[in-house]
Symmetry: C2
Subunit: 554 residues, 2 copies
């Protein structure tokens, strides 16, 4: 790309986009706004932006005491807490790089990531010690562990060494810190993609990336000073999808749920209601179970006007409808990826389109991934790399480019093919773009099922299955077939009340309303749960592996 | 400032922030959203973002035909129209620099600006030909004039030459244009400050400045896809305060009032109501007369929920209250300057502060300039440059720094003192910052009145005067006094119904509720209008000049 230099401006050209200035300014302008965080004992911790900023400066001084230097990578194993929020700003503000560690990765993957990044320290929550302990013997570059706990270090029983206490360090550190001005293209944080193929690959976001993406997200999602934002997306995923920054920019109240799992649905729902949350983000993997919990609540919580940004996979229409009908909350679908630094799209219906919509049109429209945010270039291309028209029909691989999109993976030879010569990232997703500019992902390239030379969308079939009331969850994959190359296999989890009462034929008949006969799955298996990846997506790679002989062994 | 280089990120570091990509992307994602613009004949022109983008590409090709080169400056003399919007994107997208010409400047100032910038062409509206004709003999570098008109060129009677037709050029040009990638620190547009002291000075905004400021403004003002934005601020002032870009980013519907003056209050108000505007921007200089017009309307227009960003000078509380009471519209005060690339502050009350407010507290609070947007550094300093605390009491000069703040003036020797060594712009405004982070401008440095060694705020006194029902407008300046150095002089415009019924003593008595005796003006003069500058602010320099002997000649 040739870059043309024009006439010189009179700007402050030396001013660098540094992420920590966002919080520094928010503490000045919105100092009294609240941050709420659930602790391990279930109680709520509350403080203000101003108090958070003081602790963030103490944290920065603590890193100096640990002799952590500019450019060094520091691992973080932590839940969604106020301390994770402090680390988001305090750690990279010193020039170090925050390495987000996905606590759901396998031991092999996690130690690979730590070694690949050459992490010098690991910050670890007291109830994630077992994760750190399991990889510690294999982590060659790590010089110490900072334990995130309220307890004195002497009460911590661990094989990790040497260990430091997050709270003791902050208590001893000065609350005055003079932030360095970091050249804006320097790395702020590293996220490793979870590696559905091959080894995890490192995306190193610059300060500029994060700063710009946060601004665009705040503007596009209309996050405002009047919002209370619930940080449901794990903060070890793609920077919590950017919400902690977008909320900071506008001074929104922030709510962190602490450690949670599918066992804490009551805690999550209560927090959302009692703190008067107006905006949340999350994947269907948690939004679906929360909905199941809400179904049983009487009376139902009133979430009128609450916007829930739903990403990671397509939210089923049934889920979106039920949230609206039962609680008044609106689900807004968003699409992104680690490399493209979510949020890439948002499905907010533009007013002029909405006018002609029937109720059914509206819900069908909400299944789309949405419009592509301003700032990002997008192309859909055929197998030969030729750009396809935005006609809502032509499906091709989605290519993305923009100020906060990755241009490479860190130290990953043979990954160049993921990036085009023009600087586009090849997403591996297949989609269409409508004349109105709305992206619809039809499948992952590798999850498309090729049967007799024709394509079948596994995603469309999963969505059709989930819209059938007896079905709670579904996965569809292509399995090798001696005659047709591949044939679809469906796995379904039935709702308790329907167990054993629904036949394969009934399901196939339901599917036949939307699919032609040759597309219907040869086998529909009843399972008790569906394998998921560490980021909560259906693990199709593992499912394909498990059932690879289902059609060939017959 | 030392800049520290950290670890290298994996970003697309070559991607440049170019302003025209904002519109290119908006046309893709929000193509069907509407743009409405009043034409000279009073009718409304309507088209979409997508149609606007096609014409913008034609405009870019037209510039190529005129052999306008990268880095050349092109003057624009135009009202708030859809064509001005096209020029905002089409002209700088080619690498040329858009020189905004304030049509209210004097002939001497305007020709100085054109010559200082060495403008190569001037785009001029058909009913601003007289402005261009008056300066043409003095503009040495201008090679031609592009007439913005619906008429054929043969119907245009002008002494300008050579002339070109905007519409004919677009009609002949190709709708395909491949935008160059412009190095982001290159100049996008030039605005000259109106020169209350000395010659006008040129601020050359970079593409990066405009891109970043637009994002921050959209996020902070919560402009959304559901908004209809009324572009009331003249687009020859500080890029229309950034609203055309912020609206583009989120795909808001845009409404342009075309040519207007104080004679078009009915047109303005009707347009605002009929197009269902939800957000507008403007100075009290136009908002006050609009309010006077609304006062006489029956029934009053329902503007419930409409936000009006009010800048250039402090909106009187009486005006803010009356807008709310009569129409339901909320006035949001914003502060900025050409150099700091408005918007610097916004007065939106953060929810946690609002809780303890009485009705009176609330209105008093709304008089403040507001919180400083995230992204900008601010300092208030005393006469020796020492930083003052944010205690709401200590008043000092406001210094600003940030990614979109000017670091110099173009080719203006002896203007270095306006910028500090640390990169701060010295605003010349005096203010306090409260512990909650809200800026309150108490005066312009040069408008403070020094009487017997003590300071009197002319702005506070003007506001007190305006809150007195019989008074429509007021100006207060300091005039030389043989004994006290300076003494205040007040000029007031009475409302029609009160003419001759109010005495000086009654006014002085009203003021005495808020000011101590020695602060009260020695003279209060009744005038029929108050001198304004080209940007609609009270022209205190001219008033001081006119009345410089009022206290010394006695």
């Amino acid at each position: 790309m040739e870059i043309v230099k024009g006439f010189s401006a009179t700007s402050q050209t030396n001013y660098q986009l540094n992420v920590t200035t966002l919080l520094k300014h928010a503490a000045r302008s919105f100092g009294k706004q609240e941050i709420v965080s659930r602790k391990h004992d279930g109680s709520l911790f509350r403080y203000t932006y101003k108090e958070a900023y003081e602790r963030i400066k103490r944290l920065a001084n603590s890193l100096v005491s640990l002799r952590i230097e500019v450019g060094e990578k520091i691992g973080v194993l932590e839940w969604n807490t106020y301390r994770h929020f402090e680390i988001y700003y305090g750690l990279p503000g010193t020039g170090a790089v925050m390495l987000l560690l996905n606590l759901r990765l396998s031991q092999q993957e996690l130690s690979y990531v730590v070694n690949h990044a050459e992490a010098k320290f690991i910050f670890v929550d007291e109830n994630l010690l077992h994760v750190a302990e399991a990889i510690a013997p294999f982590c060659k570059t790590v010089k110490g562990y900072v334990i995130i706990t309220d307890k004195p270090l002497s009460d911590i029983s661990t094989s990790l060494e040497p260990i430091y206490s997050y709270e003791e360090m902050l208590g001893e550190a000065s609350p005055d810190y003079d932030w360095p001005i970091i050249e804006e293209t320097s790395a702020y944080s590293a996220c490793y993609t979870s590696g559905t193929t091959g080894r995890p690959k490192g995306v190193y976001y610059s300060h500029r990336d994060v700063y710009l993406q946060a601004l665009m997200y705040a503007a596009n999602a209309s996050i405002s000073i009047k919002d209370t934002v619930f940080q449901l997306v794990p903060m070890f995923h793609v920077l919590g999808w950017g919400t902690p920054y977008a909320a900071t920019i506008v001074g929104a109240k922030l709510v962190f749920p602490g450690r949670y799992s599918l066992k804490n649905l009551e805690d999550l729902t209560t927090l959302l209601v009692e703190e008067k949350v107006t905006m949340a983000n999350g994947a269907p993997a948690i939004l679906m179970p929360m909905l199941e919990y809400i179904r049983k609540m009487e009376p139902k919580p009133d979430l009128t006007g609450v916007r829930i940004i739903s990403g990671a996979s397509e939210p089923p229409v049934a889920m979106m409808k039920d949230y609206m009908d039962l609680t008044g909350a609106e689900i807004i679908h968003s699409y992104g990826s680690t490399e493209a630094h979510a949020i890439v799209t948002l499905n907010r219906v533009i007013p002029i389109l909405e006018k002609g919509f029937s109720e059914e049109d509206k819900w069908d429209f909400k299944r789309k991934q949405g419009y592509i945010v301003v700032g990002l270039d997008i192309k859909i291309v055929d197998e030969n790399g030729r750009e396809l028209p935005h006609d809502g029909e032509s499906a091709g691989e989605v290519l993305l480019r923009g100020p906060w999109v990755s241009g490479s993976y860190y130290n990953a030879p043979e990954s160049e093919a993921q990036f085009s010569d023009e600087g586009y990232f090849r997403s591996g997703d297949v989609g269409t773009i409508s004349p109105e500019g709305y992206l619809k992902i039809t499948d992952r390239l590798k999850d498309l099922i090729k049967s007799g030379g024709e394509w079948i969308s596994s995603v469309d079939m999963e969505n059709a299955l989930i819209s059938y009331p007896p079905i709670l969850e579904a996965a569809v994959v292509g399995c090798p077939h001696p005659k047709w190359e591949e044939r679809p296999l469906a796995l379904v989890v039935l709702r308790d009340e329907f167990k054993t009462k629904v036949t394969q034929d009934e399901i196939r008949k339901y599917l036949a309303e939307k699919f032609v006969k040759w597309q219907l799955p040869d086998e529909i298996l009843y399972v008790t749960n569906i394998l998921k990846t560490s980021v909560g997506k259906i693990d199709k790679k593992a499912i394909r592996m498990k059932y690879k002989e289902i059609y060939t062994s017959k």
